[in-house]
C-alpha cells in the first residue's frame, strides 16, 4: 500500500531506473530472478512506496510483446499467482476453500492476460480442472514442464 504515490510523476521511468539500480537490464530478467515472488512483492522490492504491482505486470507484458514471448509471460504470471494462492502446491482435494484459492489464481490470471490470449488462458484452465496436476504440484518458474505442455511457446 503506497497510498497512490506510485502514480505520481513518470512512473515508467522510475520503474526502469529501479530495475537498472538493482543490476538488471530488463524488468523480465529482474522478475525471472524471483520466479515465484508475487507481483506485489516485486513491486515492493522495486519501490516500497512508489511502485505498484500492476505497473510491474504492465511492464512485463510490454517487454514480452517486444520479445514475442507473450505465452512465456503468461506462464510467468500464472506461477506467481499460484504460489500466492496455493503456496503448498496443487491441493489433493478440491474442497470449497481450495477450490476458491485455485479459482482466485486462475480468474485473476485470465483477467491479467491480454485479450488476444485470453481464450488460450481459458483452455489452460479447462485442462487443469479436467486433468488435475498431481497433488503438491508447484511450478517454480515459466519453464515448468507441465505448464510448457499446457501452454507451449508459439512465437518465433
Amino acid at each position: 500500500m503506497t497510498d497512490g504515490r506510485s502514480w505520481q510523476g513518470n512512473w515508467k521511468a522510475r520503474l526502469y531506473e529501479r530495475v537498472r539500480e538493482r543490476g538488471y537490464d530488463s524488468l523480465t530478467t529482474f522478475a525471472e530472478a524471483r520466479p515465484t515472488a508475487s507481483l506485489a512483492a516485486l513491486a515492493e522490492e522495486l519501490g516500497k512506496d512508489d511502485v505498484a504491482g500492476v505497473q510491474v505486470l504492465s511492464g512485463l507484458l510490454a517487454e514480452a510483446e517486444q520479445r514475442k514471448q507473450v505465452t512465456r509471460f503468461m506462464r510467468d504470471v500464472l506461477v506467481r499467482l499460484l504460489s500466492q494462492s496455493i503456496p503448498d502446491g496443487w491441493p489433493g482435494v478440491l474442497d470449497d476453500a481450495n477450490r476458491f484459492n485455485v479459482a482466485k489464481a486462475l480468474g485473476s490470471w485470465i483477467a491479467y492476460t491480454p485479450e488476444t490470449h485470453q481464450e488460450r488462458a481459458r483452455q489452460v484452465r479447462t485442462a487443469l480442472l479436467a486433468t488435475p496436476p498431481p497433488p503438491g504440484w508447484r511450478p517454480l518458474g515459466p519453464d515448468d514442464g507441465l505448464l510448457r505442455t499446457l501452454l507451449p511457446d508459439d512465437e518465433a
Binding site: 510483446e65 477450490r99 479459482a103
Partner: protein
C-alpha cells in the same frame, strides 16, 4: 463549581456502562443503583494493553481483531440502552400512563420516540454486519477499511441513543407532571413538549441520515444540545413545582416529594442550572489512572477511554465526536463553549495526535486532492451482479467508493499515459469484473461476499488503490 450529576437521567443510564463498565444500562429496578457507582471512588485500574502473545507476522490481523472487539462493545452499549428506552416507551403507552392522559395528545410524542428506535436498530445492524464481514476477510487492510465504514453509523447510533434517552426522560417528566401537578396545565406542557421536540429534531434527523458529514456535525454539537435540553428539563420541572405550590400550598411539599420519588425511580437526576459566573470548559477534567475524572468523580472509565482510543486510532471515530461524548459524560453540557477542546492529557489518552487527525477521511484522500473523483471499486454498472452476491444494505456497493487522484484515476481507467500493451485490458472495471467472473467459472459456483472482497482487496493492492472507502452516492 461541581456538577454532581448529568443533566438528564437516561443519559446517565446510557453512559453508565461507560463509567462503571458493568454493562447494566437497563431500566429495571435493580439497575437503578448502578449508575451511582460512577460517583464513588473508582476502583478499576487502567487496563493492561492486550498482552496476549502477539504474532509478529500478524499485527494487522490483531489490530482488526481488537478494533472489532471495541466496536462490538460499543454496539452492546447502545443496544442495551436502546432496549431500555424501548421498554420505557412501551410503559408510557399504557392507558394509565402518558398515552392515556389528556385525551391522548401526547401520543404523538411517544410515537416520535418509538420511530427513532427503528433507525437506531437499522444502524446497529449495519455496524454489526460490517464488523462481522471485516472479521471474515483475509486481508487485514480490507478488514480495517470495512471497520472504518462502521464509523458514521456507529457514531449516529451512539449519539442517537443518548438523544432518544433524553427525549424519553422528557416523556417521563410529562407523565409525572400530568399526574402530580395538574395545575401546571396540559396546554402548557404540550407546548413545552413540542418545543423540546423541535430542539431535538434537527440533530435526530441528521443522525438518522447516517450521512458521514451530517453525523459528524451532529455528534460534535451534542454537548451544546444536551445543555439546552438540561435547561429545558429544569425549567419544566421548576414550573411544575411553582404551579403546584400556588394551587395548593398545603399539598405542595408532599406532592413534590412524591413526584421526585417517582422521578428518582426512573433514575432522573436533578439538573442544575449553570452558575452565573462563566465556567471554563475542561476545568477539573483530568486523565487519571482510572479514567477521566471531574474533580473526584469518574466521568468515563479507563476501559471506555481505551476502547475509544482504539476506535480513534483505527480511524473509526473522530476525536471531536469522542470528545463531545466525554463532555456529556462529564456533565459539562451546561457550558456553552461548544468548540473548545478537552485538556490535552485527555485528548491524548483518547488517541488524538497529528497522524490520527490526518487519517480520518471525510471526503478527500489527503492534502491537495480536493477535487479527486469518486470511484466505485465495485463497478456501478454491475450493481445487480453484486446485489445478487450479498452487496446490499450496509454492504451496498455505494459503500465501496474511493477518492483517487486525477492521474491515478486516469491510469486505472486505461487513459492517459498508461497503456503499455495495445490490447492490455487494464481498465479497472473490466479487469476486476473479468477476475471475478472467471473465478466464478473456475469455482463452478457463485462467489461469496467475502471471497469477492478477498479478490477485490488483492487487486486494489495491485493497482495501489488506497484501502480507504468513502461511502458514495448511488448514481
Amino acid at each position: 463549581m461541581r456538577l454532581t450529576a448529568l443533566g438528564l437521567g437516561c443519559i446517565t443510564a446510557v453512559l453508565s456502562s461507560c463509567a462503571t463498565g458493568d454493562g447494566r444500562t437497563g431500566f429495571s429496578g435493580e439497575a437503578a443503583t448502578s449508575y451511582r457507582q460512577e460517583v464513588g471512588p473508582a476502583v478499576s485500574s487502567f487496563p493492561a494493553r492486550e498482552s496476549s502473545p502477539s504474532t509478529p507476522s500478524e499485527p494487522g490481523r490483531q489490530f482488526v481483531t481488537h478494533t472489532r472487539q471495541a466496536i462490538r462493545s460499543a454496539i452492546d452499549d447502545v443496544e442495551r440502552s436502546r432496549a431500555g428506552i424501548a421498554g420505557s416507551l412501551h410503559q408510557l403507552t399504557d392507558n394509565r400512563r402518558l398515552s392515556g392522559r389528556a385525551n391522548g395528545v401526547f401520543i404523538r410524542h411517544i410515537v416520535y420516540g418509538s420511530n427513532q428506535l427503528q433507525w437506531l436498530h437499522g444502524a446497529l445492524g449495519g455496524v454489526t454486519t460490517l464488523a462481522d464481514v471485516a472479521w471474515g476477510v483475509d486481508e487485514p487492510d480490507m478488514g480495517l477499511a470495512l471497520l472504518r465504514l462502521t464509523g458514521p453509523p456507529l457514531q449516529a447510533a451512539t449519539s442517537g441513543a443518548t438523544l432518544l434517552a433524553a427525549w424519553t426522560d422528557f416523556l417521563n417528566l410529562a407523565d409525572a407532571v400530568l399526574r402530580q401537578c395538574p395545575s401546571y396545565g396540559t396546554e402548557r406542557l404540550y407546548a413545552d413538549m413540542n418545543r423540546v421536540q423541535q430542539l431535538i429534531e434537527p440533530s435526530m434527523r441528521a443522525l438518522s441520515s447516517l450521512e458521514p458529514a451530517q453525523v459528524e456535525a451532529a455528534a460534535a454539537a451534542m454537548p451544546e444540545l444536551m445543555g439546552q435540553l438540561t435547561w429545558e428539563f429544569h425549567s419544566i420541572r421548576e414550573g411544575a413545582r411553582v404551579a403546584t405550590e400556588r394551587a395548593d400550598q398545603m399539598m405542595a411539599a408532599a406532592q413534590l416529594v412524591e413526584m421526585l420519588t417517582l422521578v428518582s425511580a426512573l433514575r432522573m437526576s436533578l439538573p442544575r442550572l449553570p452558575p452565573a459566573a462563566p465556567a471554563t470548559l475542561g476545568v477539573g477534567l483530568v486523565m487519571g489512572s482510572n479514567g477521566v475524572m471531574v474533580g473526584s468523580r469518574l466521568a468515563v472509565s479507563a476501559e471506555w477511554v481505551e476502547r475509544m482510543r482504539r476506535l480513534v486510532q483505527a480511524g473509526v471515530l473522530s476525536v471531536p465526536a469522542v470528545s463531545a461524548a466525554v463532555r456529556i459524560h462529564a456533565g459539562q453540557v451546561m457550558m456553552a463553549q461548544a468548540h473548545q477542546e478537552l485538556p490535552r492529557g485527555v485528548r491524548e489518552a483518547l488517541g488524538d495526535g497529528p497522524e490520527v487527525r490526518g487519517m480520518r477521511v471525510t471526503g478527500k484522500t489527503g492534502a491537495g486532492m480536493a477535487e479527486s473523483p469518486e470511484h466505485h471499486v465495485l463497478p456501478d454498472e454491475f450493481r445487480e451482479w453484486f446485489e445478487k452476491r450479498g452487496f446490499t444494505g450496509a454492504m451496498s456497493i455505494d459503500q465501496f467508493c474511493v477518492k483517487l487522484e486525477q492521474a491515478h484515476h486516469q491510469a486505472i481507467h486505461g487513459g492517459g499515459n498508461w497503456r503499455l500493451g495495445r490490447l492490455w485490458p487494464n481498465e479497472w472495471n473490466r479487469m476486476i469484473m473479468g477476475a471475478l467472473r472467471e473465478a466464478e467459472i473456475t469455482a463452478g459456483r457463485m462467489l461469496t461476499r467475502n471471497e469477492i472482497l478477498n479478490i477485490v482487496g488483492e487487486n486494489m493492492k495491485l493497482y495501489d488503490i488506497p484501502m480507504n472507502f468513502i461511502p458514495g452516492r448511488r448514481r
